[in-house]
């Protein structure tokens, strides 16, 4: 299956991509929607919507241990999704893919499992200063509950300095886990995770990567990188909400105990004893979100069918336009984008205007952007900011939309300061 691949020039290609996203046709406040809140959640291609619908129209039945046709169909979809995800992120084995509720759920699950089998009082977990609350609060909970210590790695604009700081922090603090984001959902900054993984490997520090944003903008290869854990959500990757992934490298399967208990994850149960199934099942208790998996499978297939790499290259091109255009808007400043590698996310703030007011007016103009702290409060506080307006792009966005957004921003600032 392929979509839009033979179409040129590029703007026609983008138009073709757009035609696969039904929401792009709707209006808000009487104006065409300009959706630039992709980092919060992406729009969904029709294939994904139809896959979820088809699942319920045709195949719905509970998975595993089913000895009837529908149960078999349902199980096939679910396990196909697992295979597709394994391929997408370069997992060495399909059982390394655990389905969860999303990134937050994945990190919570991992923190719980590590707290039972690996982390001990006084152990240091090294995070970056740019983390989303989802990759801070589960560890903070462990620090309160069992006395692990959190240390935060500063993230300079220059990758060499990040890597150097990582070495120094590892030398100084001897962390038992490195847990960092692939890319910041606030600034778009992409951490040099290949090089960081290399350092982590040298020092034998296990590494978890929060891929909520990164997986959307990079072809990653968890096996090659040697990552131990990788977490992401389907809904930011053009798939349905309510399902996500925790990649657990095989060597951890004997170390990490299950983190949820019940049906589906057992080998044998007696009234007084239980033995658990093998991974991935021992990590997936209860009835999973099969419709979500069907949608996620469709999302992965959709990305392959449009030759996703070309979408990713276009996003970078669009990002450069966005940064250049936004830089020209009087009265605002950009966070970062000064040399390091970035995903197509730009946070701006206007020293004289509240980000909330900007987003309200931009919404009136049909522009969906996000204003607030974006669940990155510690880093914002460090910068002395309360919040930003965040513009986040996807391959179905256009240069016109970016320019319209910059113009809406400009007009909003004029209205608010005029």
């Amino acid at each position: 299956m392929s979509y839009c691949v033979d179409i040129s020039p590029l703007d026609k290609r983008v138009e073709c991509w757009r035609s696969h996203f039904p929401q792009l046709r709707r209006k808000v406040h009487g104006r065409p929607l300009v959706y630039l809140d992709n980092a919060a959640t992406s729009l969904k291609p029709r294939d994904v919507i139809e896959a979820v619908q088809q699942y319920y129209l045709r195949d719905n039945a509970n998975v595993h241990r089913a000895n009837h046709a529908l149960g078999h169909a349902s199980t096939t979809v679910y396990e196909d999704a697992r295979k597709a995800v394994a391929q997408l992120i370069g997992a060495a084995a399909t059982q390394e893919i655990i389905f969860t509720g999303g990134t937050t759920d994945s990190i919570n699950a991992l923190a719980t499992a590590l707290s039972k089998s690996y982390l001990q009082r006084g152990d240091v977990v090294l995070l970056s200063e740019l983390e989303h609350h989802s990759n801070i609060v589960p560890w903070l909970e462990l620090s309160q509950r069992m006395g692990i210590q959190l240390v935060y790695l500063p993230i300079a604009e220059d990758d060499d300095r990040v890597v150097k700081a990582l070495e120094e922090h590892i030398e100084r603090h001897r962390p038992r886990l490195l847990a960092v984001t692939h890319a910041s959902n606030l600034t778009g900054r992409v951490l040099p995770i290949e090089r960081m993984a290399e350092v982590a490997r040298q020092y034998e520090v296990p590494m978890m990567v929060d891929g909520a944003q990164g997986v959307v903008h990079h072809r990653i290869d968890v096996a090659k990188l040697g990552l131990d854990f990788y977490a992401f959500s389907s809904h930011k990757l053009y798939g349905p909400m309510g399902i996500g992934v925790l990649y657990i490298r095989k060597k951890w399967h004997d170390v990490l105990p299950p983190f949820r208990f019940g049906g589906g994850m057992i080998d044998e149960v007696d009234y007084q004893s239980v033995s658990y199934a093998q991974a991935p099942y021992k990590y997936e208790a209860g009835t999973p979100h099969v419709a979500g998996a069907a949608g996620l499978l469709a999302a992965v297939r959709f990305l392959e069918s449009i030759h996703w790499e070309e979408g990713l290259a276009y996003e970078q091109q669009l990002l450069r336009v966005a940064v250049d255009t936004l830089r020209k808007v009087d009265g605002i400043r950009l966070l970062g984008h000064e040399g390091g590698q970035y995903d197509p996310i730009v946070s701006v703030y206007a020293p004289k205007v509240h980000h909330y007011d900007l987003a309200v007016l931009m919404d009136q103009m049909g522009v969906a952007v996000r204003a607030g702290h974006h669940c990155v409060q510690p880093y914002l506080k460090k910068l002395g900011l309360k919040g930003t307006v965040r513009i986040s792009l996807a391959f179905y966005n256009t240069e016109e939309e970016v320019e319209y957004c910059a113009d809406a921003l400009k007009r909003s600032i004029q209205i608010l300061t005029g």
């Binding site: 406040h29 909330y356 309200v360 607030g372």
Partner: protein
């Protein structure tokens, strides 16, 4: 503004509804609200204490009530201009009325001006949080 004070709450509310509904375009309604925000004196920094913060707003909104004679006087502020305008609008509506009047009054301007439909749920929550805070003040001053 002695005339304003003689007006009942319902009458004042009707005036507010008329003011807002004069504009067909939502951008103009917002401009009106922004102007209210800009004209509002706000509160001096020293008075912006955490106990005056209205919970449930996306930006920080402070609402202060004082009893002057029989009636309450509300003053408000926000670090964002649109909430500041909305808070000022509400403060102006309710200022100059007794706690009993305020408690007996059922505001309808949120629905009648389309604010309810037009604000996103979080913003609408912020607005109802301000209204609820007014009621709480009225109750506290009535029994006090």
């Amino acid at each position: 503004m002695p005339e304003v004070q003689r007006m009942g709450l319902a009458e004042k509310e009707q005036q507010l509804i008329d003011d807002l509904n004069m504009f067909d375009e939502w951008m103009d309604k917002y401009q009106f609200i922004i102007d209210m925000g800009k004209e509002s004196e706000g509160l001096p920094d020293a008075e912006k204490t955490d106990d005056l913060l209205v919970k449930g707003c996306q930006s920080r909104v402070w609402l202060k009530a004082e009893k002057v004679g029989d009636v309450l006087v509300f003053r408000s502020d926000s670090d964002a201009i649109i909430p500041k305008g909305i808070a000022a609008m509400i403060a102006r509506l309710y200022s100059g009325h007794t706690p009993e009047e305020i408690l007996a009054f059922r505001p309808t301007f949120v629905e009648k001006t389309g604010l309810a439909q037009h604000l996103t749920p979080t913003r609408a929550n912020g607005l109802s949080a301000i209204l609820k805070r007014i009621q709480q003040y009225a109750l506290a001053y009535k029994t006090a």
